[in-house]
Amino acid sequence: MLRYMVKKLLSLAVSLVVASAVIFLALEVVPGDPAANMLGINAQEETLAALREELGLDRGPVARYADWVGGMLVGDFGTSYTYRTPVSEMIADRVVVSLPLALYALALSTLVAIPAGIWAAARRGSGVDLGVMGLTQLGVAIPNFWFAMLMVLIFAINLRWFSAGGFAGWDAGVGPAMHSLTLPAVALALPQAAILTRVMRSALLDTLGEDFIRTARAKGLTRGQTLWRHALRNALIPVLTIIGLQFSFLIAGAIIIENVFFLPGLGRLVFQAISARDLIVVESVVMLLVFAVIMVNFVVDLTYAAVDPRLRRSR
């Protein structure tokens, strides 16, 4: 088990180094002069020179890369060119919205999808199964921004249960903050839950067809006992994989929903930074997102090992 963890940690470190190098190369080295890119074609020569100095472009790329990575390791992400504030502060402001939103959406989707998938699989071919499968078809097909606007129309404008957008902030307390994240979380969770339900159902049906399920039935276990004790845990591996992918997506991919609900999240920050050509912010936020994705995958790998004894021995 220790060997498995160390191996996964090593691959995590390698992934981070490679990802940071790729991001750095793509944004700072390859397309010519970053200062010119940030300021656009009408920039004055003095402004360009000032920015070049600020970015330290007079030094070699290796030294700049080392500075960038070294800075991130101690929490210094540089200063935003457009906002003139430390990027770390901007990210911190946004993470407290994006991360809870992603977790909230993931919790909703998992809490709905796993029972629904199990229910459909246990009653394969019945009305329940057909109903659940039909709903997931809809859930996958409906664009989530459209669903978000529909919810705003119903729950914010007509029923007035929720506000139509904005974030209450954590200072106001957990209740109001979560309240303002509810509609966006539901909108984000809908397609995820639909996909996850289908994965849970098909994984469970595959497992229920395995030989060891028949062995368990021959021991005298009821259908239900067989499902809970033997099939479910075996069916979890594909489900965990999808949950990991979905969480990574939710952290970074909520741009549209954040825009619909006017939420100050990371997705909007990247979007704004790209529009403003603020390379310093883009580079740092992208790196942070990559870090999050890699960490999530690491956690998923550890969960695999917790579920499946065969993986505890590294090969």
Partner: protein, 528 residues
């Protein structure tokens, strides 16, 4: 006392009849062998007793198990019967256990679902059951997971689960078909001992008459969902009346007629071949380990000869085969075919001279291709596909006993035996000199196997073929080869004329293999 009585059992699945008027009985302490080829309904009969049938199955008739009418029981009542009154052992030990639970927990579960006992007590009794199945927890801790055990050991765990509550009836459905001969003999001994010591009734299902004939008290022969003949084992073998039973008996000791031809030139020369596989390092700073799958193997195959290669799974037979086909590099020695070294630079024209037929007639064809394209595939070894390729395909299909119009059909339309004929046709299309048969008849029913062996014997003369016949089945090797190599742990431990090796084996391992192989006594031996 009759433990299990099946009376005029009819079973259909969604209206399709599967079993017709099946009747049989098992008494306490008795072993009843149920024999039949695939599709004969033997497994379905067993699953009917447990009522673990596929969806849409419907039974009529009577099944009486330990005084209870099985077909009238409710599902909860059936759950109480399964595992307590009747235990079941299945064919495939590799997949019959839950990979995520320890073997101790899985055996204890049988006890926990039926009796109100503490977990500790259940584990204690599980340890006892594992000991009875000859897997004592002292040597095989109950905290092991299935993937840490071999196939034979896993089958013992399945048996321990089935006998944990000392059921009155044990049903074993092809319990040794997936195992090696030596392991098979051990598992059969274990089952026999359990029946004798614990007074259980055993319903032993097999396609192999030899496996059952040795240990059964009664034999039931099934075909197409019906019992064709049954009776006391010793008596039945001598007094078979039904033509099918006789055909089955004849097929299982079938001796194909082979052309006699003096072997001449050496076609294949294997000299001191070594194949190593890298394995994971030992410890953090240990060097890379290596596993020697094939160790200093040498032999020759001459023109017109039929050479057997026997050994248990994992002995290196398949690795050696792949090396001969040039699919694996070797770390030592040399393999020469037709005077050239196999491997990089081996000319395609010569490569066409060595063809192979694999075991699985289901998995070795692309399901989306028509037979014509499947059989013609080896033509890619030639510079251009000949213009008359369809004629050649038709001819070779006729040679293997198929109709030429099979060409325009897909592989799923054919039975296992027909598929194996098509595989042989594919191997013969380039008119090779060497044909490697890697467990080519192991997945087939006895009667089909006899037909394919006849076919191979005939083709050997017609095509002037040399065979390298790889199998774990000694009776097949004995019937079709001139010489035999015995392989153990990567080494050839014995080689010689087939008859000589079988009659007077020199090496201990060969003796063990021959002793373990189930064999039908000849009529003379039975009378003696």
């Amino acid at each position: 006392m009759t433990l299990l009585r099946i009376d005029k059992l009819d079973m259909n699945v969604h209206g399709l009849p599967i079993l017709r008027e099946v009747s049989l009985a098992v008494a306490a302490g008795q072993i009843v062998g149920v024999i039949g080829e695939s599709g004969s309904g033997k497994s379905m009969t067993a699953l009917s007793v447990m009522q673990l049938l596929p969806r849409g199955a419907h039974c009529t008739g009577r099944i009486t198990l330990a005084g209870q009418e099985v077909l009238t029981l409710s599902e909860p009542a059936l759950c109480r019967v399964r595992g307590r009154d009747a235990g079941m052992v299945f064919q495939e030990p590799m997949t019959a256990l839950n990979p995520l639970q320890t073997i101790g927990a899985q055996v204890a579960e049988t006890i926990l679902v039926h009796e109100r006992v503490t977990r500790a007590e259940a584990m204690e009794r599980a340890a006892d059951a594992l000991t009875r199945a000859e897997l004592p927890p002292g040597r095989f801790p109950m905290s092991r997971y299935p993937h840490e055990l071999s196939g034979g050991q896993r089958q013992r765990v399945v048996i321990a689960m089935a006998i944990a509550l000392r059921p009155k009836l044990l049903i074993a459905d092809e319990p040794t078909t997936a195992l090696d001969v030596i392991t098979q003999a051990e598992i059969l001994d274990l089952l026999k001992r359990l029946v004798r010591e614990e007074g259980m009734g055993l319903m032993l299902i097999s396609h192999d008459l030899a496996v059952v004939a040795d240990m059964a008290d009664e034999i039931v022969i099934m075909r197409d969902g019906e019992v064709v003949e049954s009776g006391a084992a010793g008596w039945l073998l001598d007094n078979m009346r039904h033509p099918y039973s006789r055909a089955l008996l004849a097929a299982s000791s079938h001796q194909p007629e082979r052309p006699v031809e003096a072997p001449s030139d050496v076609l294949l020369d294997v000299r001191g071949v070594v194949r190593d596989y890298a394995i994971r390092r030992k410890g953090w700073w240990g060097g890379d380990g290596a596993f020697r799958a094939v160790n200093d193997v040498s032999f020759q195959l001459r023109k017109g000869e039929s050479l057997g290669l026997v050994g248990e799974s994992g002995c290196g037979k398949s690795t050696l085969t792949r090396a001969i086909l040039g699919l694996e590099s070797v770390q030592g020695g040399e393999i020469r075919a037709f005077g050239h070294s196999v491997g990089r630079g081996f000319p395609n024209a010569l490569r066409a001279g060595i063809q192979v037929v694999f075991q699985d007639p289901y998995g070795s064809f692309n399901p989306r291709w028509k037979v014509a394209r499947l059989v013609a595939e080896p033509f890619h070894l030639m510079a251009a596909r000949p213009d008359d390729w369809r004629d050649r395909v038709a001819r070779v299909l006729t040679d293997v006993g198929m109709e030429p119009d099979a060409m325009d059909r897909y592989i799923h339309e054919f039975s296992g035996g027909q598929r194996q004929r098509i595989a042989i046709a594919r191997a013969l299309i380039l008119r090779p000199e060497i044909l490697i048969l890697d467990e080519a008849v192991s997945a087939l029913d006895v009667s089909i196997r006899a037909q394919i062996l006849d076919l191979l014997a005939r083709l050997q003369g017609e095509y002037g073929l040399s065979y390298l016949f790889i199998s774990h089945d000694l009776s097949v090797v004995q019937s079709i080869t001139d010489r035999v190599l015995v392989m153990q742990a990567g080494e050839i431990v014995e080689q010689g004329e087939t008859a000589q090796v079988f009659d007077a084996p020199q090496h201990d391992y060969t003796r063990k293999l021959i002793a373990a192989a189930p064999r039908l006594a000849t009529e003379a031996e039975r009378k003696a």
